[in-house]
């Protein structure tokens, strides 16, 4: 996956767990939870989906790295490099 695809992968996961949120204008460097309604349980769901879709394990001490979209790309980049993008909510 490229960096752009990783952004898409994260947005797709958010769209799956939060179907009522508007994701069009998400900023890369602002904390996700300051832009949309996300609580700790939702973060857990994001982590769960990363495991289910891409087999990526994120240990609890690294959750902080996923606070912004940019953080996600930096942290997940190496882990997702060889993986193909999976879209469920945003496809079509």
């Amino acid at each position: 996956m490229t960096r752009d695809e990783i952004v898409l992968a994260i947005k797709d996961i958010i769209a799956t767990i939060a179907p009522d949120e508007e994701l069009g204008g998400l900023e890369m460097e602002v904390r996700l939870r300051d832009q949309i309604e996300l609580d700790s349980m939702d973060f857990l769901d994001i982590v769960m989906e990363l495991r289910k879709r891409y087999g990526v394990q994120v240990p609890e001490e690294d959750y902080m790295q996923l606070a912004t979209l940019k953080g996600c790309v930096d942290y997940l980049g190496p882990k997702l490099e060889s993986k193909a993008l999976v879209l469920t909510a945003l496809k079509g």
Binding site: P19, D20, E37, D45, K52
Partner: protein, 470 residues
Amino acid sequence: MRYDALILGAGMSGLAAGIRLAQAGKRVAVLERHYLWGGLNSFYKRAGRRFETGLHALTNFVPKGTPNVPLTRILRQLRISHDALRLAPQRHSKSALRLSSDETLVLEYSNDPARMRASVERLFPAETAGFERMVAALPGYSDATEADRTTSARARLAEFVREPRLVELLMIAPLFYGSPTERDMSWAEYGILFRSIHLEGMARPEGGIKALLDLLIERFEAEGGELRMRNGVAAILHTHGRVTGVRLDDGTELECERVLSSAGLVETEALCGTPRANEDDPRIGRLSFVEVCCVLDRTPLELGHDTTIVFYSDSERFLYERPETPVEPRAGVITCPSNYLTSAPDPEPFVRVTCPANHGFWTSLDETRYAAEKVRAVDAMLAAAESFSFPIRPHILFRDSFTPRTIERFTGHRGGAVYGSPLKRRDGQTDLAGLELIGTDQGLVGVVGALLSGISIANRSVLAPSGGLS
């Protein structure tokens, strides 16, 4: 083949827990004894018509996107969009307290809390400020203290509201919509119920309970969950204090890591081999109901009745308790599903009337007397309900009713107790490792409460670092 988790019961809590676990990639099955899903909140066909057994109102209604409230949390966790529920809000509802044959106090409310405040002001102007202080002091969903859990709601209300008749009026709807105890409840429970009914509000999914159940089943199966109907659990198997699996009614044994049970506290204990509790065991709830559902030849609105739900008390003291008589027509709920603001009305209008009933009476009768007593009880209920609503009986095309016996038979809840045991297990824990309670006896009642219960216990069980489902 070993399951990560087996869930007892395809009611609201079981389905919600199932969705959460399946989403987490767990191998999970929901086992249901009945051939229909939904539990206390289900539906059935009679004479070519579909009837509902639960859901007068979905409480906790808020508009799409409202942050930090139970409905939004639940939809998010189950990945169901607010739009998919197609919630039709209530017009308005009321609690009515009859003081004498010519004096009835009526408290009106809607999904706009200002309406209730105005109604209090009209009835008892001097109590308005006290009422507002009471609302401001209500415990929240998650910040109730130990003291809130042990203090009487009536006692706390009386600290804010001096007029005893207003206290009585303010108890009616919250008691009816979720108190497992008679006459009173804790201040913590009152806070939750008052918020869910009066500060948030009431709505109905278009298509009723079936539409909501269809969504849940669809989600569960889409995530790979397995729904096994007519798979009653006869026993929960365990060795050395730890759950190992279940044995079904037909003798089949299934192995699993964990069991989440919505069968109820004493019911689940009995499945683990504890001797069956006596009828008068204090852990068995005392509140059950007779409900009649009447198909009408015209809408309640055409008959001059525009209220969605009427909670009524035909006596100055609201008789929310197990009656000595078969049924207590002096306390009831009148629900008109066609009085939700919907663009897709049900094919035929109907009205439902629900009154407290005596479980022991209804389970002691033979078939002939059972049928006759049902007619008698329902006639008395309809007569009382009409005095708070509109002439129902002249307009009935068809009617069907159920009793505490029906509730016990189809949901397994001892005593036909709709709100379960008065003693809740808030942490869901039992004496066995790997066995947790969800639903009514874990502490949360109502459709939204049961969904929340299934979600929160499933979340904990997926996340539990020790003995978790890793």
